[in-house]
Symmetry: C2
Subunit: 341 residues, 2 copies
DNA sequence: ACTATCTCCAAAAGCGCTTTCATCATCCCA
DNA sequence: TGGGATGATGAAAGCGCTTTTGGAGATAGT
C-alpha cells in the first residue's frame, strides 16, 4: 500500500539500514549514497511511518495539553486561542505535535492522562491553571514525565511552571488607582483555590497597606470567572452604606459584568467608579469605556511553557518557575481625568 | 522498564496472544481466563503501548484539527474554544484523541498535513473555514482520507462539511430589521473568499429584494474579521450623503468595532442606527447596548463535524453536507422600541 | 607486502502488539 | 466408540522502523 523504507532501499540498491541512516542524517554515510537515497525518497514520495518510528525510538514528538474540567473553562474562553497559538508556535518550531485532551471530571481526566503517558503516546504535558491538590500532578511526578504548568499550583511549589507575578501585577494595578487619587478601593475576586486569585488578592492588599489605606473585608467579594459573577459581586459591594469608588477586578470577563451592572445602576465610569482588571483580552478596549487591564502576555505563557517542557525532554537544565512580565494597559475606565480621543 | 503484554502473559500463565484477545474482548476466550488476565493487568498496572498498537492496526484513533493560517485566525478568536469543546466532546465519547496542527503559511500547512497523513499519524482530519482553492483539500481527496470541513468550501461543493444555512441566517437577520420598520439597511461584509461571507451577503440582498427595498452597492463594504475593519467600514458607509439607518454586520467582533465607531460619532443605537450581527459570541450580550446576533451553534458545529469524520472512518454512509440550525437572538441593538429591564 | 585503521554499508535482532494458523481438548451424534 | 464440529489457547510471523554487530574494501603505517 504505502511506500516503506524497504521500497526505497530496494530501488536505491541499498539496505534499509542505510536508508534509515540517511533519514537520521547519520554521519558515517557517503555523500553520494545519501544523495541517491534522498532522490529516490523524493521520487517515491516516501514519508516515514511515525508509529513505527515511535515504537522503536520510544518517543513520539508530541506534547499533550490537558484542558481544565468544564467548571474551570470559562476563564480560558477568551484567551485560550492566544495561549494555544503560543504553544503551537513553539512546538511547530521544534517539530513537535500538539495533542489536546481533557475529561468531564477528575476521574476521567486522570484516566486520560494515564493512558497517554503509560501508553507512550506523549513525550510531555502541559497543564492549564490547575487547582489545589491535583491528582494529575502527583501522578506525573511519580512517572517522571516532563510536564509544566501554566499558572502556578498552590500545592506543589517546586513543580515546573510558567506564571505571571500576579502579586506584583495586582500591586501595580491597585497602585495605579491610588495614584489617581482613589482611596476607597474594592476587589472583585475569583475562586480562592487558584493561586492566581490568591496572589492578586495579596497584591491588592499590599498596595492598600503600603499606601496606608484600609483593607475592608466587605469590599472584597469572591466570585467565579463568569459574567453574572461580576454582576452579583458588584451588586453586593455597591449596596453597602459606604461603597468604594474604585474596583480591582480579577478578570476582564468578570469586569464586563461589573461594568454593565454599574451602568444599569446609573454609575458613571470612571467618574463614580473606576475600574482596573486583568488579562487584557482583545475586547477590553472595546467596551464603553475601554477597560484598563493588566496584559499578562498570553501568547508568551503558552510559548514559554512549551519551551520548558521541550527543554526538560532534552534534559536541559531549566528554571523551575518562569515569570512572564506583565504590563498595565491604561484605558479610560481607571482615569479620573477622562480624555477623549 | 514499562510492563508489556508479555509480562502480563507470563504472570497469568498464558500466551501473549491470549492477553491480546482479552484486551480486544475477543469472543472465543473463556470467562475464567479473561477474569484472571484482567486481574493481573490491574495488578501490574498494565497499559497497552499505543504506538505498537497503531503500527500493527494501521489506525491511531486520533483526528487532527487543522488551524487556519494566521491571517484567518481572527474570526476564530472568540468561538474557537466552544468549537474545540464540541470536537473534544465527540471524540472523547468515541475514544479518539485530538491532534492540533497548523502552519504559518500555505506551504508549511500542506507539508504538515502530508506528514500526518502519509506518516499514518491520524485517521481523519477536520478543516476550519477554508478559503478558496485549498491545496489541502485536493490532497486529502486524492489520499482518500476521511475529513470534513467546518464551514463550506467554495471550490469543492461535494466535500463533506458542516455548516450553517448562512443565506437563510442573513435573510432572517435582515428581515428582523425590516420587521422593525427599517428601510435603509447596509451590510458590513467579510472577505469574499469565504463561502460564509458570500452566503450572508446573498441572504441580505434577497431579504431586501423580497421586501421591495433597494440594494445599494455603496452601503455594502467588504472588510476583514477585525475590530478596526468594522470601524473603517462603518466610517465609509456612514459618511455618505444618505447613510443607512440599520446595519447587518458579518461577525460580532466586527460589530463591536462598528458599535464603538458609531458611538464616537454620536449615533445612538438602536435609535439612529440599528445593528444585527452573527455568531453570538459570549460578549454580544455585554456591550452597550447588547447586540442582536445570530447564534450559529458553535459547539454543535464542532460536535457534528467530528461525528461526521468518525462515521466516515467507520464506513457509515453520511450526508455530505450537514446544516446546523441557527437562531436569531434579539437584543437591544436592533429594536426600535427600546425596552429596559 | 602484511597488518592496523578507517570508512561505508548489510544482516539481523527487536520495539510491543495483532492475527493467522495450528493444536489439543471436549463434545455431540451416529 | 469413533470422527467431525466446536471451543480455547499457543506458536510464530510480521507491522515499519532503528540500532548493534560485523564484514568488505580502501587507505595508511612499518
Amino acid at each position: 500500500m504505502s511506500v516503506t523504507i524497504k521500497d526505497v532501499a530496494k530501488k536505491a540498491g541499498v539496505s534499509p539500514s542505510t536508508v534509515s541512516r540517511v533519514i537520521a542524517e547519520h554521519p558515517r554515510i557517503s555523500l553520494e549514497t545519501s544523495r541517491r537515497v534522498k532522490e529516490i525518497m523524493e521520487e517515491l514520495g516516501y514519508h516515514p511511518n511515525l508509529m513505527a518510528k515511535s515504537l522503536v525510538s520510544r518517543t513520539t514528538r508530541t506534547i499533550a495539553v490537558i484542558l481544565p474540567k468544564p467548571a474551570e473553562e470559562l476563564l480560558l474562553n477568551f484567551f485560550f486561542y492566544e495561549l494555544i497559538r503560543g504553544v503551537l508556535a513553539q512546538l511547530t518550531r521544534a517539530g513537535y505535535d500538539l495533542l489536546m485532551a481533557g475529561g468531564s471530571n477528575e476521574q476521567e481526566e486522570l484516566e486520560t492522562v494515564t493512558r497517554l503517558v503509560r501508553g507512550g503516546r506523549v513525550d510531555g504535558l502541559l497543564l492549564l491553571y490547575s487547582r489545589s491538590s491535583d491528582p494529575i500532578i502527583s501522578f506525573l511526578r511519580k512517572e517522571k514525565v516532563p510536564f509544566a504548568l501554566i499558572g502556578r499550583s498552590l500545592d506543589y511549589e517546586d513543580v515546573p511552571s510558567v506564571d505571571n507575578d500576579n502579586v506584583q501585577a495586582a500591586y501595580d494595578a491597585t497602585n495605579h488607582l491610588i495614584a489617581q487619587g482613589q482611596k476607597r478601593i474594592g476587589f472583585v475576586s475569583g475562586p480562592t483555590k487558584l493561586a492566581m486569585t490568591q496572589d492578586r488578592m495579596a497584591g491588592y492588599s499590599k498596595a492598600l497597606v503600603d499606601a496606608g489605606l484600609p483593607v475592608k473585608q466587605s469590599w472584597i467579594v469572591e466570585g467565579e470567572f463568569l459574567l453574572e459573577s461580576g454582576y452579583r459581586a458588584m451588586a453586593s459591594i455597591m449596596s453597602q452604606p459606604e461603597p468604594p469608588t474604585a474596583l480591582v477586578v480579577i478578570d476582564d470577563v468578570v469586569a464586563f459584568g461589573v461594568l454593565k451592572g454599574l451602568a444599569e445602576l446609573g454609575y458613571r465610569i470612571p467618574q463614580d467608579v473606576a475600574i482596573v482588571s486583568f488579562n487584557n483580552i482583545a475586547l477590553s478596549e472595546l467596551t464603553m469605556p475601554p477597560i484598563t487591564s493588566v496584559d499578562v502576555g498570553t501568547y508568551q505563557l503558552g510559548y514559554t511553557a512549551s519551551q520548558m517542557v521541550l527543554r526538560m525532554i532534552q534534559q536541559v537544565e531549566i528554571t523551575t518557575r518562569q515569570i512572564i512580565p506583565h504590563r498595565l494597559v491604561v484605558r479610560e475606565s481607571s482615569l479620573r481625568t477622562v480624555t477623549h480621543v
